[in-house]
Amino acid sequence: MEHSRLSSLLWVVAAVISVALLLFNIAGLWPFIEFVFVSLLSIICWLKYFHKPLPEQNAALPFYILSIALFIILNAIRFASGYASFIQSNYPGFFKQGMALDYTAWFIILVCFPASVMLFGAYSLAKRTTAGFFFGCWAFFYNIAESLLQFKVELGSISTYKHEYFLAVFAAMVLFLLSAYGIMRLIKPNGEMIAANTELALPTKRKVNLWSALFVTLVIIYGVTLCTQAGILPVGVIAGSMMGGMIGWRKTTAMAPADPYKLVPLYLLLQALFYVHVGEETITHFNRGIAAITGHSWSDKEFNYFIAFLGPVIWVFAAWSLWKRQAFGNFILWFMIVGMILGEPTHVLVFPVVRMFKQGVGYEYFSGMYTALFPMVPAIIALVVIIKDHKAQKAHHA
């Protein structure tokens, strides 16, 4: 066994054992068994197909990204159905005694943690690292396990479960099929590679303008809606980032889409770090912090739908779109770059300062502060890559 592969294997085994113990101690039997079972299966699969040439992992990447988006969709529907309290009251023996599996605990342990692992795994897979294959298997097996659990929980309690038109069962079914297909693509890749920009029909000016019109319209609708719900402060950050992103997109990647091999790994790393940040915001109730300084009430429910579920679904889906070199993915990449570089530091520089002036308190912790700056790192690197590539293209055409 190669030195680097042995090293990856040892790191993965150490991490799996540590996380399993952590889950057993804080959450109980159910999360522990699921994690250990999925991880063991993934390690076995990884060892069996260890010899595969690394670049072929790319064949499974689009399915991997879509499965993450679908996993978050499934959990958004579960949230609407009151899944956390349902499993707590119907399967009490599976969770640690005395553990209150409220929304926050459920979201952090059973949604944010696995989704973040999947996103870090997506980065690893996109970078074609040795551990990428393990993460690929882990995410697909985990999603299959979650699909089966949904069938068991919802269809096994047909009269007591709060069905949302059986949307969760439908989502679980699609997730199951997508993950099963993803495993097949990981084990037997067809060597699909992405065409270079020069081989593609590049977008016309008219198309770019139409996309711009669509983005501007949606930014305005989104901005007005968010303003009505959360006040001007978060709108300034989000809508401002969107408009800044659109200018950046039009100036650079609108006519020549970004190189997916360079940008998708960075974007996925950004998303992984951002979802960890969303986890911190959820634990510390960012919405309540904003409500306290703006005077606009922003309910937990609205925050959870917007920020913890539906936003991330769109952002993760954008990674798939970026991989396919679509305008949507390229625009969202720019929005994220601007948002992370200019928007996220507001957790450190603006919100606590506004609170100082409004409430007469000192500079204290504000929700999301500790993890706000990390997504900036891949965002800055992505910005540098885009600008370098754009300059190189301009020089090539000159």
């Binding site: 019109a213 319209t217 949606l218 305005i220 609708i221 989104y222 007005v224 809606t225 719900q229 739908y305």
Partner: protein
């Protein structure tokens, strides 16, 4: 596959904001899947019809919606509002699915009728002591945004290979939602 992105994009506001409108005119059109589908469909259908229809058909919807809003605010009784809204979703979806070229005037009259009922629904739900003009401007602007989103997404789809077929399928899905909404009200 990539065309489905457009369809997803068309409907993403639906899931985003379908949970309470807090008394704001801006938010009311976004509070129900029926309103959103109908308004996006108006834009998409106008793009499909092409020519002058692209702005005249949505303009008719907006004008009649304004009228409907005023009637709703005055609490003048109008029968079968919810059924008419469900029917509008069904018929607009069907119009996109059939993709038959008709004169813009006929389309504008039909769409205007639907707009009246949608406006009535918004107007009738105005919270007490809310500024009327601000409320009406709010729902008209959001509706305009949804029309533009539908029209632009429709135009983008029509530029794609097989885009026309995808747009028709999207219309079919809209019509199916209309059937569901219609049956939900009847049963």
């Amino acid at each position: 596959m990539r065309k489905f992105l457009f369809i997803g994009f068309l409907f993403f506001p639906a899931t985003l904001w379908a949970h309470g409108f807090g008394g704001s005119g801006f938010l009311h059109p976004l509070t129900g899947i029926d309103h959103i589908i109908a308004m996006v469909a108006v834009g998409a259908w106008s793009a499909q019809l092409g020519g002058k229809a692209i702005y005249r058909v949505p303009a008719s919807f907006l004008a009649m919606m304004c009228l409907g809003g005023v009637v709703g605010i005055q609490k003048i009784p109008v029968a079968y509002t919810e059924l008419s809204i469900a029917l509008s979703v069904l018929l607009l979806g069907l119009a996109i699915a059939i993709n038959k070229k008709i004169a813009w005037l006929i389309a504008a009259v039909a769409v205007g009728l639907f707009g009246f009922y949608h406006g009535y629904s918004h107007g009738a739900e105005i919270p007490n002591q809310h500024k009327v003009a601000e409320y009406i401007v709010g729902f008209l602007l959001t509706t305009l945004g949804l029309h533009i989103a539908g029209a632009v997404a429709g135009l983008l789809l029509l530029e794609e290979k097989n885009g026309e077929a995808i747009l028709r399928i999207a219309g079919g899905l809209g019509a199916a939602t209309g059937v569901f909404l219609f049956l939900k009200l009847l049963i």
